[in-house]
Amino acid sequence: MRYDSLLDAVGGTPLVGLPRLSPGPAARLWAKLEDRNPTGSVKDRAALWMVTAAEKDGLLRPGSTILEPTSGNTGIALAMIARLRGYRLVCVMPENTSAERTQLLRMYGASVVHSPAAGGSNEAVRVAKRLAAENPGWVMLYQYGNEANSRAHYETTGPELLADLPEITHFVAGLGTSGTLMGTGRFLREHVPGVQIVAAEPRYGELVYGLRNMDEGFVPELYDDSVLTARYSVSAADALRRTRQLVHEEGIFAGISAGCVLHAGLALAEKAREAGERADIALLIADAGWKYLSTGAYAGTLAEAEARLEGELWA
């Protein structure tokens, strides 16, 4: 495949079967490998769409500064695009994210502002909103509420899946900003009657949920639960076990959020098998495992790996 530039190579990722993990020919699992994007994650799609929309709206001009709360992948995608398009980038990132991400961002020339570990991404959003208020010239793309984030998936991820797997019955993806699920989910619902759109979200250690009042939580502005048909909470232990299973049984070295998605996907496949229904389940694999090696998730026993992830934003 030939492209004019790196940005033209965003999307068009492979969908590969998981014959060893699938329960049988009537209940099949498929993995959409988003690590095959230019900076190695699904976030290249959202980042490119958000930047392009901001340019079109006249918000971004050459030399502008972009500000974004991100624990990694969106920041890395934006850093690459900012470098190619001539913008400065400031990322607000929780201090309990892996060292690889900070190094990558700095290499691309982005500035990193750390937010406190307790409270996780909620805190990063809060700090970014404060910085935006203090620096009115900066442009916060704000992936949690930017319609261009979900539109990227409505226009690319959804159509790609439908073209490769017209018989799709389920789509499973991680729930972060909810952009992937909202955009892909809306597209698939419009084209595939009865398709199930399923969120898999990581269940973190207690530190991440913090001591905040139950009225101070965070739900992304993009999130619309009418697009989803189910939502699963997956523990670190289950996510780690499934991440290793992906390597051992299918040869796919994925990030830990993929373990979450696989865990939910296997539960759906089992339900379909019990009900005697055909299932073709597409799993969105958001990234590869490289950025998480320093977390220790891939070394030693599962119990050791789980202990190392306590208090970390592991997906």
Binding site: N122, Y144, G210, N213, A230, R231, Y232, A286
Partner: protein
């Protein structure tokens, strides 16, 4: 057998510090009412006039109850119910 309910840090003031408590009921609503009879005030932190509070997530055996009927979701002995505050996701 009973239903195990996992309590987030912020609500353990109601449960005397217990991370997990047991309850009973045929629906989530009945389970929460049962808990409130022993841990007075906890219901009000989970539920408002229109159902589950916006920033409260409740999972029945790891599945979000909002997709299982909300407060009317059927529960039974042996189930595990997990209560968590809504937070922003991770690698975004």
């Amino acid at each position: 057998m009973a239903i195990e309910v996992r309590i987030p840090t912020i609500l353990r003031t109601f449960t005397g510090g217990a991370k997990s408590v047991e309850g009973s009921g045929g629906t989530l609503d009945e389970l929460i009412a049962d808990l409130d009879s022993r841990y007075a005030g906890i219901r009000d932190r989970l539920v408002d006039g229109s159902g589950l509070r916006r920033f409260v997530n409740v999972y029945l055996n790891d599945e979000d109850v909002r997709f299982l009927g909300g407060l009317e979701a059927p529960v039974r002995d042996g189930d595990t119910v997990t209560v968590l505050p809504a937070v922003a996701g991770g690698s975004r």
